[in-house]
Amino acid sequence: MTTGDLTARTVELAGHGGDAIEAYLALPLDAEPAGGVVVIHHMPGWDGASKELTRRFAAEGYLAVCPNLYSREAPGADPDDAAAAARAAGGVPDDRLVGDVAGAAAYLRGEAGSNGRVATIGYCSGGRQSFLAACSLDLDAAVDCYGAFVLTAPPDEFPLRIGPLRDRVGDLRCPLLGLFGADDQYPGPEEVAELERELAAAGKEFEFHSYEGAGHAFFNTDRPSFRAEAAQDGWERIWDFFGRHLSA
């Protein structure tokens, strides 16, 4: 049982290529060593909502850090300006994302309060990136919340430097929790089912849940897509999943 007491501040950590990037760090004040969570922010950027999410994990007793994936494009900029600059430049390339998450995970593991276990979590574009990180890094758990274009290839005219991850399914190195809206089209139920089949065929440990009456971004309280019942159940599954996989 945690107290919910925490501290939070902006720090600098070494990301991909050793680049110094900003990150928002939230640490529980509880004395017991705990697991860590790398929060992968959504495309709108390293914003207040992303930082609020990071604090939520700390309030539940986890070390949490949210790297600013747009640090290089627009250091010190407002989150939406940074997001616009990053979008115009082609977005976050997959290899850079993996390097930044690796740096964030190492940062958490270096904290005195760490028990050495780290997970990633991401929503929407971050969901796909969480899956990618779990296929690329030494992580203990990963959560993919409605990430699109995991299996499906992006359209040819995509300006962003990302690709499908179908060939990476076999590389998944940790348990995966997937949370999806049954009414979502990207990813749609067919893609989610196909990903389940691919993971099962590869002998991976995973658990997927799809919520009826919920579509894309059902966790997002700032959008009409918010679905309280699905979000509440989703959070309970996240805590249960992290409780099992982030405990030493």
């Binding site: 979008r87 962003l160 089209q185 971004a217």
Partner: protein
């Protein structure tokens, strides 16, 4: 979903941002999640000047119907401009 699809182009003109008027040199157009508009997806336009930093930006988020109406209005105004005013 995050649609990702973005069209970027160079432009020539002026925009008024948070810090006042500035020359705009680039534009991004995309249909994706808005930052502020209470909708899942909007037609978003960023008029930017990257050389002046990320904050040199005029941003707008429109619902699709409004965006189409605006696009039609833009073309209509240009097409109806007095002869000789618009360089060919």
């Amino acid at each position: 979903m995050c649609t990702y699809r973005t069209t970027t182009l160079t432009v020539d003109g002026s925009g008024k941002g948070a810090a006042g008027w500035f020359p705009v040199t680039d534009a991004s157009v995309y249909f994706d999640h808005p930052v502020r508009a209470p909708a899942e997806h909007t037609l978003n336009v960023d008029l930017r000047n990257p050389a002046r930093g990320a904050a040199a930006r005029v941003a707008v988020e429109l619902d699709p119907r409004s965006a189409r109406a605006l696009a039609v209005a833009i073309l209509d105004i240009l097409d109806g401009a007095p002869p000789g005013l618009i360089p060919s």
